[in-house]
Symmetry: C2
Subunit: 254 residues, 2 copies
DNA sequence: TCTTGACCCTTCCCTTACGTCAGACCTTAA
DNA sequence: TTAAGGTCTGACGTAAGGGAAGGGTCAAGA
């Protein structure tokens, strides 16, 4: 059972390249058990186990330097390292999500044409600034609520929400064009759709709903990225409809 | 309105470092409009617009070399570049998701203690192998179904699902200990919980449910990472309960 | 006029995790 | 004996800048 391997076989079995083995050797991360008379590296089963660990730690994103620490010193706090690494990955994922969202926006604007080619990037920049506007959002949301929001507000959900708002805007414009009454049946249905879309954002948390209304009222200080995708007329109609739908609840129209 | 900026003001306004400006200058990505007699870089509003574009494209993950192409040649296909970039980001996100899942597993095993410190990494490796087992999953799932699954199966959902299974296992063990009947009321409720957890995975797609059953039957070929977190006794009890709950539907127990 | 502090310049080395040569050495089969 | 295939070390390249060395510029205060 105590096999020995030459570099080629060893590397293939572990799914790494020979060059990587050289690299780990030079870093002192994985020294081969021995050498042949000609100087060829010779690896053992124990080396293989260690390489497996290295590969695993690399997969979850640890840098080689830290892997060496973790494998070298038994006293290193593994749980703390894992937790920290998970947090790092979570941050990276957040960035990726925002980048994907930005691309989708840009694609949409490019596809709708008409504008000069570089218009999309204004939008992208707005999204970035929204990211740096975290402190602004903290005026209204607690850290915990923001964390929940980030969890729920995946790019897919965002995309769906955006589609929903666009469709709602279109239908509302039609309703206005046909002279519909905000308090009538059509308005009632549109208001219900608006409510569901808001619920996608708040996740049904009443605290967040309140905050959303305060935030909505703070119109003067909105970052540009919060600009609604529909006109003031549509906004007014929907607000009136929403108030008609729920006579007793404040709706957040000015 | 035609402002000029020295590096400090310019960099701050755009949210980059002076060192980055030097870098872009050297790459020919953003040459300042002019220089003072002393050799200081002088930037204009047009430079600012260009820098905004650079920052935006960098945010969505384009390398500087490609950014230069995109900004230099008007004929470059922007839509194609955006689509491709989105795909690249999607792949990265997939990797991140799997890494986070691996960390969560490792953390759980470390926390439960008892095992030698390096046991967790066996589990991590299994997750990696599951990744390379894509071809195996394709036996049962179409590409489209897999894509849907990846969308829905975020780390958060995974974590929640895992918690759900663990709780279900615990409660089922208790039920077995008290001699409950799989076909009785307790069994009925446990079976319903099992069904809901499966639904988290299938998303209610009946095609995927069928596949899940086929996959379940292919027990001999399961990758190790699919090992259930509960004992065979719990498994049998839940299967019998599920069959009792839905007399006419096949449940997938052997 | 001299100095201080805040800017700015260029050039060079450093970072990660290897990939890619280049030139030389080893082993084995034909 | 030679050809093929495997291996060695060493050096350089990658992306996107960070940091430091060593030096110039500018405005204001002593």
């Amino acid at each position: 059972m105590n096999h020995t391997y030459l570099p080629n076989e060893f590397a293939k079995r572990a799914g790494v390249t020979i060059r990587a083995l050289h690299h780990y050797d030079r870093l002192g991360l994985l020294k081969p058990s021995g050498r042949t008379a000609a100087g060829y590296r010779v690896y053992s089963d124990r080396d293989f186990a260690r390489l497996e660990q290295i590969v695993a730690l690399k997969f979850i994103g640890f840098p080689l330097s830290q892997i060496r620490e973790l494998l070298h010193r038994k006293d290193t706090d593994l749980t703390a390292a894992l937790r920290q690494q998970r947090e790092i990955l979570a941050e990276k994922r957040e960035h990726l999500d925002r980048a994907m969202q930005a691309i989708e926006r840009a694609e949409k604007i490019v596809a709708s044409g008409g504008k000069p080619d570089w218009e999309p990037f204004r939008k992208v920049i707005e999204v970035i600034q929204m990211q740096t506007r975290k402190d602004w959002m903290k005026k209204y949301y607690t850290e915990e609520q923001l964390a929940n929001l980030r969890k729920r507000w995946s790019p897919e959900v965002q995309a769906e929400s955006q589609r929903g708002w666009e469709a709602l805007a279109k239908d509302t414009e039609e309703a206005i064009a046909t002279g519909a009454d905000p308090a009538g049946e059509v308005g009632r249905q549109l208001a219900a759709r608006r409510k569901r879309l808001l619920a996608m954002f708040t996740g049904g948390d009443p605290g967040m709903e309140q905050n959303l209304q305060k935030l909505y009222a703070d119109k003067a200080n909105w970052p540009a990225s919060f600009k609604k995708p529909y006109s003031d007329a549509v906004d007014r109609f929907l607000c009136q409809a929403a108030e008609a739908l729920a006579k007793n609840e404040p709706v957040g129209c000015e």
